[in-house]
């Protein structure tokens, strides 16, 4: 923890003095960075991290369509990428991360009780990159399960929360979206849910009809999407 604090101090300092060439912070617009990233003990190779001026940051696995983790504060320490040869090629988030999931956000399930897949095979998801909006925030594009998918993750209200909108089109079948997974999920009014001992809160757009289901390890919050459909929710932690 001490070490982490020190890094954040360095980060703040670096913005003023440019002392460390390896600490990256988004100053007046978002900074997007492709890298390897350690997640749940595994090196992920097709990851993009997004840092914002509001200091709300996240990491996203482009080959799973998965929002891996979110954190507030400093953005990234790229020392292990940019110092010498950068052998680990690992970006390190400069903050306490809230771990979400490396599993794909979307899946075609045989029925509503079928288990959620841990991953999607490399060749079954074609990542198409991303486009930036006026504020330079990305919308990720991919095709999977025959559907064209856009996944826009933006900052809400000056940094109070992240907003995510997943849209699918041309799907041959309805797809499920797993909005959350955790040891526990509690429903509240206004389509709001708390996950895992209130680690974070989700608010789904009005009219969205999610359902909670039990799994061996806990609970999942799912939404069924039509062949052309979209889903918006916010994430606050």
């Amino acid at each position: 923890m001490c070490c982490l604090t020190l890094l954040i101090c360095c980060a703040a300092y670096s913005m003023a003095q440019n002392a460390s060439p390896y600490v990256i912070n988004a100053t007046n617009k978002p900074y997007l960075l492709r890298s390897f990233l350690m997640f749940e003990g595994k090196k992920r190779t097709h990851v993009i991290s997004v840092g914002t001026p509001e200091k709300v940051n996240y990491a996203y696995d482009l080959k799973q369509g998965a929002l891996l983790e979110v954190w507030r504060g400093g953005f990234i320490d790229a020392t292990e990428m940019w110092k010498d040869r950068g052998e680990p090629q690992l970006a390190k988030p400069l903050g306490t991360v809230l771990t979400l999931s490396a599993a794909p956000a979307l899946a075609a399930l045989a029925d509503k009780d079928a288990a959620w897949p841990d991953s999607i095979a490399f060749d079954d998801l074609q990542n198409k990159g991303y486009v930036l909006d006026k504020s330079k925030m990305p919308t990720f594009l991919y095709t999977a399960n025959g559907a064209d998918v856009t996944d826009k993750i933006a900052v809400l209200n000056g940094g109070t929360a992240l907003s995510r909108t997943i849209s699918i089109s041309n799907s041959k079948q309805p797809l499920y979206c797993r909005v959350a997974v955790g040891p526990s999920i509690e429903a509240h009014k206004n389509n709001t849910y708390t996950v895992g001992d209130k680690a974070y809160t989700l608010k789904l757009a009005d009219g969205t009809k999610p359902f909670i289901r039990k799994t061996q390890n806990g609970k999942e919050l799912l939404v069924l999407l039509n062949t052309t459909d979209s889903l918006t929710y916010s994430l606050n932690w």
Partner: protein, 675 residues
Amino acid sequence: MKKSTYLLSLLLLGTGLVTVKAQTQTEKQIYPIVTVPIPKEIALEVGGMTFLPNDELAVATRKGEVWMITNPYMKNGQQPKYRLFAHGMHEILGLNYIKGDIYLTQRAEITRLRDLDGDGEADEYRTMYSWPLSGNYHEYAYGPILDKDGNMVVTLNLGWIGYGASLSKWHGWMLKFTPDFKLKPFATGFRSPAALALNSDGEIFYAENQGDWVGSGSITHVEEGDFVGNPAGLIWADEPGSPVKLHKKDIPDTGEPEFEVAKRVPGLKTPSVWIPHSIMGNSTSGILNYSDNGNMGPFKGQLFVGDQSKSNINRVFLEKVKGVYQGVVFPFRRGFSSGILRMNWGSDGSMLVGMTSRGWSSTGKAEYGLQRLTWSGIMPFEVQTVKAQPDGFELEFTMPVDEKTARDAGTYRLSTFTYKYHHIYGSPVINQSARSIKAIVVSPDHKRVRLVLDSLKEGYIHEIKMEGLRAENSNIPLLHDYGYYTLNKIPDGEKITLTAENKPTGNAQAAHHMEGMDHQQMGNMPAAGGVVKGNTDVGKHVTQQPEIWTKGPDKTIVLGTKPGLKFDMTNIILKAGTKVKLTFNNVDDMLHNFVLTTPGSGNAVGEMALKMGLNGEKYDFVPSTPKVLAYTVLLQPGKSDTIYFTVPKTPGTYPFICTYPGHYMVMKGQIKVIK
């Protein structure tokens, strides 16, 4: 007193020589280098470069940015302007403007960048094709270039786990992509294919770096289904779409020359032109075809090949004999500021040279750089082409040669050699032998000289040195008087009949010159120090504990390496006279040794090792000099060597270095000897 008189006369003699050589050409005079200034806040570690139609230079960096540079020529005395176009990509090592769009390769993919809203910054980062990665740092990706049929071409580096390995699909391969980005695996056997380009025939050539299964750097013509040498990529040969039919078990690991193995392993493609390691280059990394866009003197249609480690550019002339490309490499220009990775033609015919040295040291000391190579318009006196003949070579010159020196056998020195083909990193020079000249014919216009040799050795590299040759009238020596011809095929045709008329004048240089040839010369620079011989004093490499050390060593040291050419200890303090057992573990991905020198001699010993030429590796790059006190052998990655030595009695600071060419400037430490 007598001694100083002698010295004085030597000095006078030296002055005399300078006067005689007053007209000697220099690289600097003929090919000036102009540094393009880079703003302080930009780390322009060049990974890719391309010009846009509006003459902006787009430069991609290893930190994932794309910069747009206007006026890199500094026309009208104006400074170039830099604008950040895109950022955040993963170690970009190739950038190209193709069919109206900017394409690049980052580690995981080919990306297309577009500025949709016209604000001068990319806002669409489109993944055109994505390949798997294992997470190994060595899985670099290069390209794309456009082939003559409209496909894009990329190459993928092998991973490194103590040896080259294809840890994820298509690493170690050259891949083609159709205009709608369907993948076509094209060829394999690649190790570290840092550059690819088309020659003037539209054929694909790639640059390879020395390593396992690669005795020396080279450039190689790549055709569909080729296997170019490193077997790691063959694990994907059975994948759908693979045009390669070989398997790892088909590749013998005997240490025979690669061309010999290729005779019985159909599909194994040998280099078109070897670029002899440590003499011509250490890290082949950029290829630029001398097209009509360039203005570099009389070498149109040839290839310029950059070197990351030596910060130099070589020049390659290719010809096709019996359907196979082969040719000669000559030095062209050295002295760039950092490690050369990319070269492009500017709109004025100058060559933009983009550089980086982070993690991979280079002769040019800067961490990164952008320079512009220009031609003064002065005609260099150079060997323009070398063409294989049934009985020797025909050398064509950029200006008429002096007939007297051209006809003199003593002007030339020729030899042949090759490398081992094996899983071991690099290779010593093997099967080296001198060639003698049987006839010399000078063309009537004095621009061509035909050398008839005692024999040609098919498959071998032919070293051609011409120190004594002079230009007609001006009497100047060649700007570069040596080159290396890779003779893949001996052409058919008429041989020259030996006559009294074409019999060489003068005496051939004796064969004993072969040992320790002085390859240190780049251009016609003075041969400072002459030949450097290899160490033969076994007392400096003691691998058994001396019997008189009855109580064993006083101190045991285990030294290792760190990535980026470093020892893991750089300051060791020892008492004078300490008996030391030192184990050096090379855990890096390159060859290294440990050489302990006398105080203040680190750089001098490193420089001497550079001058050992073709024989360097045979002697572990340890020069014969009293400045060397103790050393380990040259270690393969993952290997170690233990030596015993006694710390000198005189207190002081004793440098230790790695003398592998190019390493000593950064890979060093010191033993501080105290009383």
